[in-house]
Symmetry: C2
Subunit: 429 residues, 2 copies
C-alpha cells in the first residue's frame, strides 16, 4: 500500500512558552486522517532560524507532506518567509494579485486605514518558486513548495499562517484539493462509539478480547473526556467496501459489549445528542444553573439552530436570586441549604415555569477552591432533570479543581438530562 | 551562561489524529519558562515503538531535559513502559508502595471494585533503574531516568501520564523540585502588558522602534487572542536585579506607546480584571445574554470567589422570555427587533432589577450560520453595559463563524463593561 506520512511543524515561541495552545495541529490531523494520510510526527519549534531549518531537514526524512503553520505574521519575530526563500533557493517577488487583496482587506473590509503601511505591503512579497494559496480571511498567503526526498520521491512543503480561522480556510479550500491530487490512493474508514460513565481502563477490560483479535490494518483508539470515553476504529485499505465489511464485525461486537454505557454511534457531543432528541420530540429546554454558572447553557447554545429547542437559562449565583427568579423556597434554603436535593428539584420546577420549557436541568454545588464559608465539602454537587410530571436527581462527589468540577458537573447533568428525555419519549409512545 | 534546553515528547495516536488537543505541552512550557528553562522543541509521535525510540534518540541531541507525556494508560495501545525498559536497559519490577497506592485508589477512593484486576496490578510494575514519582491523582506513576548525552553531560528523561490533572500534580510537586535541584542557575524575568481593541500588526507598528532597540537577551513576543494582544518581554541573565533594571526601560516605553489600549500590566483576563474592579468598588454584576448563551456568565464564574461579586444571569434565547424575565418591551421587539440597541438597553435594565445588581451587561445578536429566519445580517450584534444611572452600547459587525462570534462578542462586552466600571468608579470619587 502506497502509504503517505505527514509531519506538522508549528512555529512560534508562544507555543513553547505555553502561552498558546496548539489547536491547529489537531484540526490538520483530523482533516488529513479523513483522506487517509497519517500524521506521523508533530514538531513545534521557536522563532529561531536554525531550529526551523533543522526541523524542515529532519521531517523530510520521515514524511512526504510537511505542513508548516505560524511564523508568517507581520511582526518582527516572524522569520519564516525569508527562511523558506533560502531553503528552496528562491527569492521574494511582489505579487500584484495579493497586493490588491491586501488593499481590499485593510481599506475596504477592515476599514481601518486609508492606505497600506510598509509592513502590510511586505505581505505581498512571496517566494518566486512557490504556488500561492489565497488567504480569504487574512493577509498572510499560504505557500506550496514541491521538492524531493533522499529517494527522489516528491515531497510537498505547505506553509500557512497560524491564525486558526485563516489557516482552516486556506487548508480546506486551497490546500486539501491539491494534496488529494498529489497523493491519492488508498482509503480510510472510521467507526466511532461514544460511551459515558465508565473509566477508560474498565472499558478496555470489557473489550480486551475483541481488541486482541483485530487485524493489523484496523486500529482501536480510546479517547477519554470528562465522563466520556470515545472508541474509534480506524481501518486502512485499497477497497472501501471490503474495508467497511471487515470493520463491521468487530464494531458490532464492541457495541454489544458496551451497550449499557453507549450514548452515540458517532462523534456527537451530549449537547448535540440532546438537541437532536428535543428536535425529534418537538420539545424545549431551560437550564437553572448555580455552580455551573451558565456553562451548560453555553454548551447547548454552541450548537447551531439551538434557538429552536432552547428557551433560556437562569444562572442564580446567590440564595436571594434563587428565591426571586426560580421561586426556590426560603425555608428549604435555610434548613437544607442551597446545595441540597430539594433545592435542585425546586430549581428545575422554577426553570420549567419561568422559561415555559418542557424540560429543565439544574445544578447546585460547591466548586472550590475550598473557603471558610462552604456549607458542604468542596465537590458536593446536586444535579436534577425533570419535566412537569417528574424530576430525577443525582448527587456528585467531585474533587477540588474548579475548572474540572464545572466541566464534570455540566457533562453529568447533560447525561442525566439525556437519559430523562429518552425515558420520557418512550413513555409517551 | 549555563543554558539548559528542554524537549517535550507527547505520545499518543489521539494527538496525531487530532482527537485530543495538546494542553499538557502548554502547561509544561509555562512552568519550565518560570524557572528559566526554554523548551526548544515539542514533538508528538504515535503509539509506535520505533517512532518513540527515534524521538528519544533525537531529542537527547538537542536537550538535556526530555519530558515525555502519555502512553502510560492501562489500555493495550500503550507501549511506552516496556519501551523505556529497553531504552534504558532495565526491567520491570513490582513496586509494593505503588501497589498499596493502587489498592487504596481503586478500592477506597474510587469505590469501584473490591479488588485489583490484572491490568490494574500491572501499573505497579515499573522500571528498576528509574526514580518513581508518586501520582496522587491516578494509577500511572511518573518515572525519572538519568542518562548522558554525546558530550557526557547529564540528561534527564521524565515520563508522566497524559491525563492533565494527574500530570500537573506529578510535575509541580514531584518533578519540578528535582529539575531545579539538577539544573539550577540563571534567572528569567517577564513583564507582560495586555491590550485590547487593536490588531497585532498595528500594535507592532506602534512599538517597532522600541522592539528594534532591545538587546539580544531580552525578547518581545506578541500573543494575540480575541480582540486582545498580549505583549511579553522575556529576559535572561545571571543577576535578577540587574536584569529587571534592564527591562524596566523598554517596558515603560511600551506602556507609554500603548497607553490607550492597555488593560492590564499582567496576564489577567478581562473577567479577572472585572472581578478585581467589582471587589474594589464592593459592587455586584449580572448578565443578560441572548446570543452569547451564558458564555459571559461562564467566564465570570470561572474565577474563584466570583460568588461575592456575581449575582446571576438570564439567558433569554427567545422573545417571549426576553419580555417575561427581563421585562423587554413587546413594542420594542416588534418594531425594532430583538437585535437592536433598545433591546440591549432594556436587557441591561431588566438584569439590574431582577438580579438586584449594581452593574449589568447584555448581548443580543445573530451568531450564524446564516438561516432564512434571520432578522438582520449574520454577525450583527448589539452589546450594552450599564448601572441604574446610565447605559452605554456598541454595535458589532462580526463574521459567519458561530464559535468565533460567541467568543468575540463576549470579549467585546466584557471590555465595554470594564471601561464602564472604571468610569463609574472615577465619577464617584
Amino acid at each position: 500500500m502506497n502509504e503517505i506520512n505527514a509531519s506538522i511543524i508549528t512555529i512560534g515561541d508562544e507555543l513553547l512558552i505555553g502561552q498558546t495552545i496548539d489547536t491547529n495541529s489537531a484540526f490538520i490531523g483530523q482533516e488529513l486522517n479523513k483522506i487517509g494520510i497519517w500524521v506521523k510526527r508533530r514538531v513545534a519549534v521557536g522563532d529561531v532560524y536554525d531550529d526551523i531549518w533543522k526541523a524542515l531537514d529532519e521531517e523530510r526524512k520521515y514524511s512526504r507532506l510537511i505542513i508548516i503553520t505560524g511564523g508568517l505574521g507581520p511582526t518582527a519575530d516572524d522569520i519564516t518567509k525569508p527562511l523558506l526563500c533560502d531553503y528552496f533557493k528562491t527569492k521574494l517577488v511582489r505579487n500584484e494579485a495579493v497586493l490588491a487583496h491586501l488593499h481590499n482587506l485593510y481599506v475596504n473590509v477592515y476599514k481601518r486605514k486609508a492606505y497600506l503601511s510598509e509592513q502590510n505591503i511586505k505581505q505581498a512579497d512571496l517566494p518566486e518558486s512557490c504556488t500561492i494559496l489565497h488567504n480569504a480571511h487574512g493577509s498572510a498567503s499560504g505557500m506550496w513548495f514541491e521538492s524531493q526526498n533522499q529517494d527522489r520521491e516528491k515531497v510537498i512543503f505547505l506553509s500557512m499562517p497560524g491564525v486558526p480561522y485563516e489557516m482552516k480556510k486556506i487548508f480546506t479550500e486551497e490546500a486539501l484539493p491539491k494534496i488529494i491530487g498529489t497523493f491519492g490512493g488508498y482509503v480510510v474508514a472510521h467507526k466511532v462509539l461514544s460511551t459515558f460513565g465508565m473509566g477508560e481502563s474498565l472499558v478496555a477490560e470489557k473489550i480486551a478480547d475483541i481488541e486482541q483479535a483485530l487485524p493489523p490494518h484496523i486500529r482501536l483508539a480510546y479517547l477519554p473526556g470528562y465522563g466520556q470515553v470515545k472508541l474509534r476504529l480506524t481501518g486502512k485499505g485499497m477497497d472501501k467496501e471490503l474495508l467497511e465489511k471487515e470493520m463491521a464485525g468487530p464494531y458490532e461486537q464492541i457495541c454489544t459489549a458496551l451497550k449499557e454505557i453507549s450514548i452515540a454511534d458517532n462523534d456527537d457531543t451530549l449537547e448535540i445528542i440532546i438537541g437532536k432528541l428535543l428536535q425529534k420530540q418537538q420539545k424545549t429546554l431551560a437550564t437553572a444553573e448555580s455552580c455551573t454558572g451558565g456553562y451548560i447553557a453555553h454548551l447547548v447554545t454552541s450548537v447551531p439552530k439551538s434557538s429552536s429547542h432552547f428557551n433560556g437559562a437562569a444562572v442564580t449565583y446567590n440564595n436571594n436570586i434563587k428565591e426571586k427568579i426560580l421561586g426556590v423556597n426560603h425555608e428549604t434554603l435555610q434548613t437544607e441549604g442551597a446545595v441540597s436535593e430539594s433545592t435542585a428539584k425546586q430549581m428545575v420546577a422554577g426553570a420549567l415555569k419561568q422559561f415555559d420549557a418542557d424540560y429543565a436541568v439544574a445544578t447546585t454545588g460547591i466548586m472550590g477552591p475550598p473557603s471558610d464559608n462552604d456549607e458542604k465539602p468542596v465537590g458536593t454537587v446536586w444535579i436534577a432533570a425533570g419535566n412537569k410530571n417528574k424530576t430525577v436527581t443525582k448527587l456528585l462527589n467531585l474533587g477540588y479543581d474548579r475548572d474540572r468540577n464545572i466541566q464534570s458537573t455540566a457533562q453529568q447533568a447533560l447525561n442525566l438530562l439525556r437519559k430523562f428525555i429518552i425515558d420520557c419519549g418512550e413513555d409517551s409512545k
